[in-house]
Each structure stands twice: as C-alpha cells, then as structure tokens.
Assembly symmetry: C2
Homo-oligomer: 127 residues x 2
DNA sequence: TTCTCTATTGACATTATGCATATAGTCTGC
DNA sequence: GCAGACTATATGCATAATGTCAATAGAGAA
C-alpha cells in the first residue's frame, strides 16, 4: 500500500486530528482509520503518531494508556485540552482564510483560461 | 516587518507564483509584490527566490537576466515552460480537492459546535 | 553622502516528511 | 501450538522544506 507520498493534505493533518478528538477521545490507530472520512487516509502511521506526540508536548492534547481491553497491544488514548479547543477555533479561522485564497486562486486561473480560450477561438475581431 | 512566520499559506506559494507567471513573465521582486493580491504578502523574500530556483531546476520555469532598465540591480525574469502550464493544470485539480477537504472540515466542526450548543441550551428535554 | 527602495542570493539552524523497521499483543483458522 | 493477519505504538535515518538573518549592490531622492 503506497502511503504518504508527497505533502498532499499533510497541512490538514493536525486540524483534522483535533476535530476528530473534539467528537470524543480516541487512540492513534482509531484516528488513523477515521482520517479516511476526511480523505486523509493514505498517511503513514508514523506521521500520525508523531503528530500526536507533538500535540501532547504542546499541551494541545493529553494522553493515557487505555484501561479497557484492546484488540491488540495497549492503546494510548488522547483527548483535547482547553488549549486544544482554542486551537481548533483558531484553525477554523485559518481554514476560512485558506479557503478564500484557494477560491481566489481557482477563479483567477479559470478566468485567465477562459480569456485565452476566447482569443484562440476568435483570432479575427468578431463581436 | 514580521514576515514568513510559520507555514501560513506557504503551500500556496508555488501554485500562485505559477499563476502570476501564466499572466506573463515576471521577475522575483515583482512576483513578491503581486503575491499580495492573493493574500500572500508577508512571505520572506528568500522563500520566494528559493521557490523560483527550485522551479527552474525542475524545468517548470526558465529565467534570464532582463535586458531592460531596472530601478535597481539587474532583474532575473522568469517565464513558464510547457511543463509549467501542465503543472498549473495539476494544481487546479489539487486545489479543488483541498478546497473540498476544507469544506468538509469546516462543516464537521460547525456541525459539532451547533449540536453541542443545543445540548447546552436545552439541558432538559424540550421538543 | 546618506537613506530608502529595488533586487537577488547565501549561510545556518530547525523542523517536517518519507520510508523502513522494531516490537508486541490479539484473533482466527488449521 | 503456530502461522498469518490485524491491531497498536514507536524509533532511526536520510532528505526536503522552512525560518531567520544578513550580505551585496544598483538607482533615485533629499
């Protein structure tokens, strides 16, 4: 299975991990699976665990070994801190800005393409 | 002037440089100025020049010293290659995907917030 | 000549990414 | 019981990308 090839969507990893945790505590493997819901499957597991360690070091999440039975080795369960909730609110604002930039980009691109297509189709001055 | 702090919008740098060049050849300083049109002012100049060198090494753009007068030191003028135009078309597809993911993210976040707000405002079972 | 703006580049440190791999528990079927 | 698949987390290492800072230098204005 080819995974994580190139930086596609990697900038959405952290915000999306937090968003899933907003819906409730989760362990790494589960987060990895649920990223598929956001078209972010295909990310190498090591990147997810590394992101989680990083978030914990920043105080955005906390973690503890799960006391309940696992279907494998013990799980480390992560949940949001208050800082994490605030971070999410900041992410929302950031997301809106990025979306606006992307919209501007797409519009500028398509506008240019449309204009140059018209030039190609009407080389002589029609009206 | 604080510049380039953190990865804000940095993922849009390359596509946006190419988009501006699609509208016509341009030199680095000019590109840097025109990035403001896409809310990408505030990027350190060295990042822009580095991106341009990288694009040239990849054959996405070519460059030459400008023969015309500068209002300062000589300018290096960049223009798109055919590969660059194809790259732009790929960027368009990528942009649309990212845009979709961001929409999904925002919708999930706001949906959760709305749901939890309702729980807060109606703790007893009203209908 | 000094200051600001124009213009490009390089050095250096830090951080992120990609990929491979180690470790190990559980579960299913044989 | 053991092989193989799935669950679960973590580390090491090489390379790529970023951030910061500063060097260099021409042109134009005061």
């Amino acid at each position: 299975m080819r995974r994580g090839r190139h930086g596609r969507g990697r900038e959405l990893l952290q915000p999306t991990l937090l968003l899933i945790m907003l819906q409730g505590p989760a362990h790494g493997y589960e987060l990895m699976e649920r990223l598929k819901e956001f078209s972010l499957g295909d990310i190498d597991p090591s990147l997810i665990y590394r992101a989680l360690h990083h978030l914990e070091a920043e105080g955005i999440v906390t973690s503890a070994w799960d006391e309940k039975d696992s279907q494998g080795p013990p799980r480390r369960v992560y949940h949001l801190t208050q800082d994490g909730r605030e971070m999410l609110a900041q992410h929302l604002e950031e997301m809106k800005k990025i979306r606006q930039r992307i919209d501007d980009w797409i519009q500028a691109y398509e506008h240019h393409m449309q204009a140059s297509e018209e030039l190609t189709n009407k080389p002589k001055n029609e009206e």
